[in-house]
């Protein structure tokens, strides 16, 4: 058990006009830990993820990232260049819509390979071999390496996005509804893949989802949000099997009724 959090946020407030998207949110993520942010539509999950990754400025509060060298980086004071460097090297992003995370006009192999080149890989054969290996890991036939992802199914595009994200071995991965747009059967395969890769690589993951089954399968710990506030948090199975807050009980029971 590592005792220093990789990401730590406190006192986060954010308003859009009258709407409080974040209201006094505090959160920590430790290395190797998968934390799911759970809540209904509009509860502030995406806003929180964007604030934590520096994509969106909060009205108040602080986000600290502990980098690979062990130094604390104040995410919102680091500057754009530093954030871009982190996004290229130590962080990864998996978007709900693969179009936001892939370049659809670049070959599948190129999508994976260009992330490696961005961190300094130069040897063409090595990059191509690494890309093929990652396609295999996400269960895409490496023979399709030179095909364009726009011709792939939604599930394949999502798996490709995961390969592109993980090829550089990020330390912290942000995922916003990674299985959101997919059929249930396609979802199961993707979830299993994410579960296995995250465990193998020991990644820290911040995962936004409104799907309790996804949270149960992937997350070690849950943060339940409602109207911009964290109403309950704790070990995944404790929160789901013995929910304390009225809102969490509602969330859990509506799934049972579905």
């Amino acid at each position: 058990m590592s005792d220093a959090p990789i990401l730590e946020a406190s006192g986060l407030d954010l308003r859009f006009g009258a709407v409080p998207a974040l209201d006094g949110v505090a959160l920590g993520v430790w290395p190797g830990e998968v934390v799911a942010i759970l809540g209904e539509s509009g509860s502030g999950k995406t806003s929180l993820l964007r604030v934590l990754s520096g994509a969106l400025a909060a009205d108040a509060g602080e986000v600290l990232y502990r980098n690979a060298a062990g130094a604390l980086v104040p995410v919102h004071a680091a500057g754009e260049a530093a954030l871009r460097r982190l996004a290229r090297t130590e962080w990864g992003f998996v978007h709900q819509n693969p179009r936001d995370g892939l370049r659809l006009g670049v070959s599948a192999g190129g999508n994976v390979g260009e992330r490696l080149m961005a961190v300094g890989a130069r040897h063409y054969g090595g990059i191509r071999a690494a890309a093929a290996e990652w396609l295999r890991r996400v269960e895409i036939d490496p023979a399709r390496m030179d095909d364009l992802p726009r011709d792939f199914s939604g599930g394949m595009q999502q798996r490709l996005q995961i390969a592109r994200t993980l090829v550089t071995r990020p330390r912290l991965v942000f995922m916003d509804e990674p299985t959101g747009g997919l059929d249930v059967s396609v979802q199961a395969r993707l979830l299993d893949l994410i579960r296995a890769l995250v465990a193998d690589l020991g990644l820290a993951v911040l995962l936004v989802t409104h799907d309790i089954a996804v949270a149960r399968l992937l997350a070690h710990r849950l943060v339940v949000m409602r109207r911009g506030r964290v109403v309950e948090h704790g070990l995944t199975d404790r929160v789901l099997d013995d929910p304390q807050h009225e809102y969490t009980q509602l969330l859990v029971s509506s799934v049972l009724a579905a």
Binding site: M1, W30, E33, A188, R189, L191, D192, R195, L217, H220, R221, H233, G234, L235, D237, R238, D241, D242, Q244, H245, E246, Q249, L250, S253
Partner: protein
Amino acid sequence: MNGWALRTEGLAKTFTLHLQGGARLPVLHGVDLSVAPGECVALAGPSGAGKSTLMRCLYGNYGAEGGRILLRHRGEAVDLTAADARLVREVRRETLGHVSQFLRVIPRVPSLDIVAEPLVARGMALDAARQKAKDLLSRLNMPPALHALPPATFSGGEQQRVNLARGFAPGYPVLLLDEPTASLDAANRDVAVALIREAKAAGAAVVGIFHDTDVRDRVADRLFTIEPRPEASRSAA
């Protein structure tokens, strides 16, 4: 190590049902249980008394409302009711095992890896972990052909044997067993009894719910009876 491996002090648990107008369902109150290394305690009491609730509290699956749950972990007493989620995970990885009544199936993961996973999590090499998983599954009469398959399509008894192998493989110092033999045939029940006895001989503290009195008599050193709370029985009626 002597004394206790697991103990509760004044453990209380009340469910607050917010969706039923905030109704309160008191289940456990003032539970003082102490289990020594090598000892097996069987929970007793009528249906609805709170046996499974106590078991789930001991695993940290249900949050306690009052009192303490102490575990000997890494040579020190840890209070589970005050531990944060990361410490509970660590305790579950190293100290506290749990065999539930039914296996929670993870899609697409082969039985062998379901059993090997907690061993790998404790630092065992994958090959060694798989070998140990294979031996244990074979001992529970699981045909080798099934080892490579995910248990989703298995029979209840087959799933339960995967569950048992997963729970017993690591050799946890504290082991919680909720109806471990309920869906097993006689031959596999005997294997389960042998596994429990071996765990005790190796120094594990065991707490179990055994509706099968034959199994209970063969493994338990004593009973711990949970008296139903009047309010709880009224609500259940």
